[in-house]
Amino acid sequence: MKQIKKIGFWLLVLFLLILICLPGIWIFVSAFRPNPEILAKPANWIPDRWTLHQFTQMFSINGYVSVPAFKYLMNSVIISSVSTVIAITIGMMGGYAFARFNFKGKNKIFLSLMLARAVPGISLSLPLFILFAKLGIINTSFGVILVYVAMNVPFTIWLTDGFFRQIPKEMSEVARTDGCTRFQAFWNVELPLAGPGIGAAAIFAFLLSWNEYALASIITRTVHSKTLPIGMMDYLDEFTINWAGMCAIAVVMIIPALILTFIVQKHLVSGLTFGGVKG
């Protein structure tokens, strides 16, 4: 009886797992087969013919460029990395300040930062578009980076604040009586201790930027600044949709995100719970 229960349980787990992974599997499979086969009815689960056609075209390996995926990939990498570095630097310092110092209006500022995150980004898209157009930073990487930094700073502050709170304040005090300046104490003692948490926050910020679509679709216009999620729309023509191409570019997008998530998944969980449970 116990055995049957156990098998039943694992069958249920397997079923749910397949259900969850199905879209991903479908994207992956579809990226490697010709377009007509994707549209086949009834669905053809296992491709008859595997092909790298979409990838070779995307990265212009045989001279023909369907969609400038390499340029989009570079845009995505640059925009996500730069915005993450800036956001985590500001966020780390902000989080430290909120965790360690008492200043006037501390709670109100913290609350307003969190409220800023509650506003749906897309609702700001029109003012943002007009503002950026007037400033002349529409369709630039700089513009997108600016938006992503603004989006990520409150989040990284919230996460790192939680991490710094976990570190007893005696750590920095003893470092300071040991001859450190406040910054040296931060750099030599508190930062290494909060390291995993800050890393998790950074990767979170990176993934948010990497996957962001709504705001980028407003600000970016051409190859000059488009990121991968926006670039995907290039496969949408007036009368046809190149599903295979879309799936292929989706695979290009998913793989780095997946790798990063695997690297930090342990820290990610602790990062989120640490951030949530504040002493």
Binding site: E170, E173, V174, T177, C180, T181, N188
Partner: protein, 365 residues
């Protein structure tokens, strides 16, 4: 190696006064213990000396230098915290050498000094370990080692033993005392444990509500407490305190110890008690001596018998509990014999061992 001087030191948190106008000179090489209940301002005082807490008023001198505005790093004091605060990401030797590394001392010299500290504290085998791999007592030792490698002007200890179990605490207490004798440095030590205070201190400061209640050698504060607070705080079990009425009859001043127990006022206190209606009598447990029979000297000894409520045998002594004025009184019976609850026992008290305090001001008479 220097004296520490506090002048009119004050700390306020908003309207709350944590430390009030504290004046204190701690000579070189003294082991000073600040003791008092939670919230009395002892830790705040220590943290102000270390520079971790801003001061609201007054001056602090270490050596001949005024350090009011100086950062903790420039004060050349070392602090040992209650929770040790070892750097968890560094090994024992890195923990010990950290302050020297920050001071950019050359590696050979760091090695020599770390080795020295390791030898003093018996940490030779643990040099490569991380704090998480150490027991409580070992961590405590590393924390002290980290303080001594710098050869600071003063050591500041903030309740360093309160996270240890009772046995280890006694052991480390002895080690701290030995360490002080070896290093000959000024030590300021904060604790709420009066036993630690008594055993370690050259001088004790008893604090309450931000004020110094009494300063003196351990024996001095034990024998001559200036008020009821100090009397009950120092000593274990705490001094018995009885509020008594004073009656006068036939030119005799009598003290009403209990409803049916009247005793003579000691001769030397007559002048002080003559005009008072009430007085607080303080007697240490060991001075209430159970006796078989009363002696004849009625003037310098108080006698009474009382039925006891409880007896706690501790081996070398038995603590006997009874009530005077409905307050629990503890007496110590040395060379104990079996005692029954409810048994009437004769007690005697030598009057020169009795402390009298003013009923209103709670100060010693």
């Amino acid at each position: 190696m220097a004296k520490v001087e506090l002048k009119n030191l004050t700390k306020k948190y908003g309207d709350v006064v944590a430390v009030q106008n504290m004046d204190l000179t701690i000579p070189h090489n003294e082991f000073l213990v600040l003791v008092g209940p939670s919230g009395c301002g002892k830790s705040t005082t220590l943290r102000m000396i270390a520079g971790l807490e801003e001061i609201s008023g007054g001056e602090i001198f270490i050596g001949d230098q005024k350090v009011n505005e100086k950062d903790p790093k420039d004060r050349n004091v070392s602090m040992v915290f209650q929770n040790y605060a070892l750097y968890p990401h560094m090994t024992v030797e890195e923990n010990l050498g950290f302050s020297l590394k920050i001071a950019k001392v050359n590696p050979d010299e760091i090695e020599a000094k770390v080795k020295d500290a390791v030898n003093i504290l018996g940490l030779e085998d643990l040099r490569k370990r991380k704090p998480s791999q150490l027991s409580g007592g070992q961590r405590q030792r590393v924390a002290m080692g980290r303080a001594i490698v710098r050869r600071p002007d003063a050591f500041l200890f903030d309740e360093p033993l309160s996270n240890l179990d009772a046995k280890l605490r006694t052991q480390m207490r002895t080690e701290i005392k030995k360490l002080h004798q070896k290093l000959k440095t000024t030590v300021i030590y904060v604790t709420h444990d009066q036993v630690e205070a008594m055993t370690l201190a050259d001088r004790i400061i008893i604090m309450k509500d931000g004020f110094i209640e009494q300063i003196g050698s351990p024996i001095d504060v034990f024998n001559n407490p200036v008020n009821v607070f100090v009397a009950t705080f120092i000593g274990s079990p705490p001094m018995n305190i009885i509020e008594c009425e004073i009656t006068k009859s036939n030119n005799q001043i009598m003290i009403k110890l209990d409803n049916d127990i009247l005793v003579h006022c000691p001769k030397d206190k007559m002048g002080k008690l003559a005009d008072l209606k009430k007085v607080i009598v303080g007697i240490r447990a060991e001075d209430i001596v159970p006796v078989k029979s009363f002696s004849n000297d009625q003037k310098s000894i108080w006698f009474f018998s009382k039925a006891i409520d409880l007896a706690e045998p501790l081996g070398t002594e038995t603590q006997i509990f009874f009530k005077l004025q409905n307050k629990e009184i503890i007496s110590r019976m040395y060379n104990p014999r079996p005692v029954d609850v409810g048994e009437n026992i004769n007690f005697q008290i030598e009057t020169n061992k009795i402390h009298f305090f003013n009923y209103e001001t709670k100060k010693a008479l």
